[in-house]
Amino acid sequence: MSNIVHWILAAYPRWWRDRYGEETTDLTTQLLADPGVHAWRVLANLAVGLIPAWGEHARRGRRVLPVAGTTPWGVVPNGGHRDMYFNRGLSVRSSGALDEDEVLLGVIDGWHGSPFIDQLPLTSAIFVCVALPLNLIFGMPGHGTTTSLVAVAPWVGLLVIGTVLRPVTSSKSVALAVTNKGLVVLQRSRLTNTTGRVIERLPASRPYISRRGVLSLQVQLDNRKFWMRGSSEPLLAWMAYSFS
């Protein structure tokens, strides 16, 4: 009989077995030993329980859950993905910006405001730096330096526009440090991905994250929206085992 219980439990999702496996085994053993209870009904009920368990498993894979507990936790994205540089996992950074009793659980990279405007100056600068020498070296025969400068003028324009719009729209690259107290929003370098000064701290009281495609996540914390791209594997693993 215990073999059948073991086989049925083995069919439950991993998170279920880790969280409720021992308790379920204990209860099943007690119920099977109870003379007033039919063994087949206990086993059938255990098997039927697979349906909601796997249903819950599927739901957990599609959404982000606020971490349970009495502490105002931050949010963690539920779903494995890689960051824009195809790195898996999280880098623990800017720990010096946290309080002494604050535990850094992970960092999610993203943007505040418009990702397009945030990236516009850097992208434009790269295009100017690439397009101008190419035009000068490989430009059309008979065209002078002036023509080459005119060719890159739109990118220079975008560079200026992006530089002006970034502070106006408060568009900036940020990293959300998820801690045991909530969220810390840090300025992030787009080139090195390293984090800098703390922009603000958020309690993350009612957070949610919805998926947009595979890599991008939109995070709304109260009235603020963040477009996130990041790695969450350690957070995911941590979250999967933190429901107790």
């Binding site: 204990d26 255990l46 329980g49 349970a68």
Partner: protein
Amino acid sequence: MLTSLSSGPKHGYALVKDIQAFAGITLGPGSLYGAIAKLEQAGLIEALPGEGRRKPYRITARGAADLREQLEQSQVVSFVGLGRLAGSGQ
């Protein structure tokens, strides 16, 4: 389950026996832990540190408020229903 836990923390088997006693329903392990998972996720119950493989659960303040609201609604329906039955002479 919330009604059962309102009298104090209980582990799985104690819950099954208590619910069997006052509701006449014998919950199986799949049903019980399916419900526990949902209630725990909703923040209506919480697990306490257990002894060995048994982990007791207790109702949270939110769970108690939710239970009270549900029972008060049921009480109103029962009161109205019984009153109408008495009025119709059935």
